[in-house]
Subunit: 606 residues, 2 copies
Amino acid sequence: MNKSYKIDFEPVGLRGKCMPGISLLECARTLGVDLVNLCGGNGTCGQCIVQIIEGSVSCLTKTEENFLSPDQINQGYRLACKTIPLSDLKVSVPPDSLTTPQRTQVESMDLPVVPEPLVKMYDIEMTAPGSNDLCSDSRRLINRLKEQYNINVLSIDLDVLREMPVYLRDNNWKARAVLRENKIIALGCQDSRLAGIAFDIGTTKIAAYLLDLNTGRTLASKGMMNPQIKYGEDIIARLLYAQESQKQALHIREILSNTLNQIIGDLCSYAGLTNNDIFEIVVVCNTAIHHLFLGLPGKSLSLAPYIPVTDSELDIKAEKLGLKTAKGAYVHFLPNIAGYVGADHVAMLTALEILEQKGIVIALDIGTNTEICLLNKGSLTSLSCASGPAFEGAHVKFGMRAGQGAIERLRIENNKVIYKTIGGKPAKGFCGSGILDIFAWLYKAGIMDRTGKLTDNHPLIRKINGINHFVINIKDQDKSQCFEITFSQKDIREVQLAKGAVRTGIQALLKANNLTEKDIDKIFIAGAFGSYIDVKSAKTAGMLPNIPSNRFTQVGNAAGLGSRLALISRSRREQARYIARQVEYLELAVFPDFPEIFAKSMYLDS
Amino acid sequence: MNKSYKIDFEPVGLRGKCMPGISLLECARTLGVDLVNLCGGNGTCGQCIVQIIEGSVSCLTKTEENFLSPDQINQGYRLACKTIPLSDLKVSVPPDSLTTPQRTQVESMDLPVVPEPLVKMYDIEMTAPGSNDLCSDSRRLINRLKEQYNINVLSIDLDVLREMPVYLRDNNWKARAVLRENKIIALGCQDSRLAGIAFDIGTTKIAAYLLDLNTGRTLASKGMMNPQIKYGEDIIARLLYAQESQKQALHIREILSNTLNQIIGDLCSYAGLTNNDIFEIVVVCNTAIHHLFLGLPGKSLSLAPYIPVTDSELDIKAEKLGLKTAKGAYVHFLPNIAGYVGADHVAMLTALEILEQKGIVIALDIGTNTEICLLNKGSLTSLSCASGPAFEGAHVKFGMRAGQGAIERLRIENNKVIYKTIGGKPAKGFCGSGILDIFAWLYKAGIMDRTGKLTDNHPLIRKINGINHFVINIKDQDKSQCFEITFSQKDIREVQLAKGAVRTGIQALLKANNLTEKDIDKIFIAGAFGSYIDVKSAKTAGMLPNIPSNRFTQVGNAAGLGSRLALISRSRREQARYIARQVEYLELAVFPDFPEIFAKSMYLDS
């Protein structure tokens, strides 16, 4: 009875053996499948839904009957936490049951470059030393690399020197040398793969990609929350936390590196690799996360005029940052531009090949801070605007992150509200794209005027405590429960500030370049939120300029793509450096007419 | 009564304040004067002799009367451990009372180069950032270095970045940037000096020099025993010790780095500097010490054919080696040549400017291992011969290191033995130079034949346990005590092996170059032992070839000089690298006719 079962999770492609008696949720954890499980496997959240495709499992529980529709039950859907495998299984995981891909956008894309990694692996064979061949181990290796590959080795990592004599003799004078440019950083073993990880570390979320550096293929990807969030949703709070003491600065570094190590471990085990196969890491993030991670003091970054300690690209030993990789591996940080325009912006511009674009081009990534870049005749101007967390669900009563049950699409037809939630789950609130839709449709339906004021007399509007609220009645179909979620005049003002900030940034860039909206040839919208919005709603809401929709392109997680490009291509890394130095930074706070532009940007349909 | 006294130690030039009631030995320790004190200040070794020049001290003790002659007492000599200052003092320290300079040869020499250090310090002034000048701290610094000094900074140490924001603001945007080539490795403070330390780490002794990198001046020097000696006088024993476990390998590294830290601290406090003023370290040592210090496995080095892990020059962060210096400082290791021809040999050749020499030149440093180099028409051949520790006093019954009471000179005239001891102390045994004299004079006096056999019938020879012994009667003049020290036929054989090995090396080099002794234009004899020997005796003993004495030059601690040159001059460091790669290594063990050459070399007057 101690025979283990083979469990195959599709379409994520994770498979492996699990001991009998443990739940499918446990199996999933073991194999690195990140099932949503808000309740910790207690059967109270009903989120870890999977479909049994092949094989037999334990009987359906009462708990599951409560969460699953009869249709779902007929199709073999189960809650993973309540299901025990009784044979080998093939299990299908619906996208909504994964914590990861939902709206973090770590999905693999084919990379549009020929792999040209900074780190390379070379197999060589040497002759053993003897009394007529007394050359040192290191010189033997160096000479052979020169003879066989015409490489000039300039240095060897001390840790490599320390393991080299035993390694060479144990491997019969065959070696797999790992070079980073002209430095030998590691000695691989016979089955070691040359892999690297690209991290896109956001204020809220972390996206990570494990790449084969030889083929450029993305072997695995993973999303996770940034654990530093517990010290503040906004970055200033975290910078202040770190400034309070050395201990706190170290702690906020360590919780991040611990999470990164967890991700490294998960990605490696998913791809059948070990940490020792990771020879290079690229990190892109905003300037504040960059400083927190590197242990750079954040005081000048947290106070106007927000001066970063450094904006240069950096190569730091992974070991020095507490990351568990091959010993000689480095972490490459893409350059920053300013205190609030970080390497993630540089990575986005790199991924978009911004300098290859024609005409007047705008690229933006909307988040708590929105960074916007304008390309005009080969010159780049970037700025950052504090758009705030309204689109992440904060400061809006029924706002929520883009998780299950969030209204992501909404329209109003004949005074009826039609909406769609993520995962088709009962509506719990609005995520960013839904909020933008509400905004646009309240205006289009004549329920809200251009200034954002809700009308007093409308069936969808109700006064609560003297304040107008847009009210949506939610019916839980199966249980005929009925409740309401609302969007108040106060919520509208929050969103107006957020969308107004984004629009202000665009207008300021145009003005600084003596351009108008009509001149814009293309707008790239990057990032998780930007990828899911309805561009028409964004135009109606006045967040984005009212230009033809075919001039907009939603490009997904361009920063993540940029980080992967920098990981596998030296020339793209070089381009990132070049772009970063080309960008002229515009400080919005000191921009002339800022208040006037901002006021205008608050309007709808502007 | 709590007033402190000012104590001035001359000629070492160390002075400072000491609290009343503590002994002069304690004062000396506090001020960094290294008085010999084998007994730990108990008054039983009688070695910490000093002379009171000015001021008043506590009364003479019985102990001192036992150790000092009436003449010495009249001249104000005292034992420092038994003498308490009663006023400000001026104290003269005889050379023999210092642990340091005796025969370690760390004495300062003017260096024949213009300082051209790899590490330089630049004072710059920046303007503070403002809302119209948002450039990052690092770029501000980099730009200013470019403007003011036309330096292209390529990178900044992470630790520097971490301290930079506070530093720049606290110093009102003035900075003293310390660069190593194009990397900023530290930020100095207003009174920081740009200093470095050159270490010549021998198997037995360590010589250290503190240099001002701007002026090239040697500010202080110090000698100390290599603490690793407790794990074996010979280097193979230490390599084996380190191979036994990771823990032991770490331990033997740490006791060395602890001692080096002690030396760094002592040198700094002597020169009024702090560890943070030390921005560069150069280390020269033999290949085995090099491997032990760097934590490189020594197995292949301890077994024939003695393959080193690496022979390349290395730059390692001082921090990584546990050395306490400025945080960003590096340790530069000069390159090695072979398992038994190390960086100390390279340093010697560099100091001698070997490639600038004319004619056929031999340079050698005699020790437990003797490294010899031959220059012939611009090409260099080096080898190592295992001369053993006989000249260090080991394996010879009355052999001793070159300390007080060692017979360092000896001659035999009319069957009378005339000798001189180090420090004029009662003879306790022979040091290397004395042994060589005995050897030469026994032969010249006809007491020993060319093969090294002692005659049976001679007043200076006595059979003890059936073996002939050369006997010296020692009279302690003051106390009319009389005892004898001896040099037996067995001792002679030991010395024959030692001196024969050196001579074998010379002969093999000549033979490999198709030369004979007559062709030699110059022989440089380096090292502590080599500096004190009587060249005539060395020739008579057959250790050195019998060529005119004016072709010999005793050059002192050339390896130490080479280490200092490499510390303050990039081009001399570059030369060292070049020399190391020019040297062809000759493996004596596989040299044709080795046994024959060796046998011949054992003879005297050969």
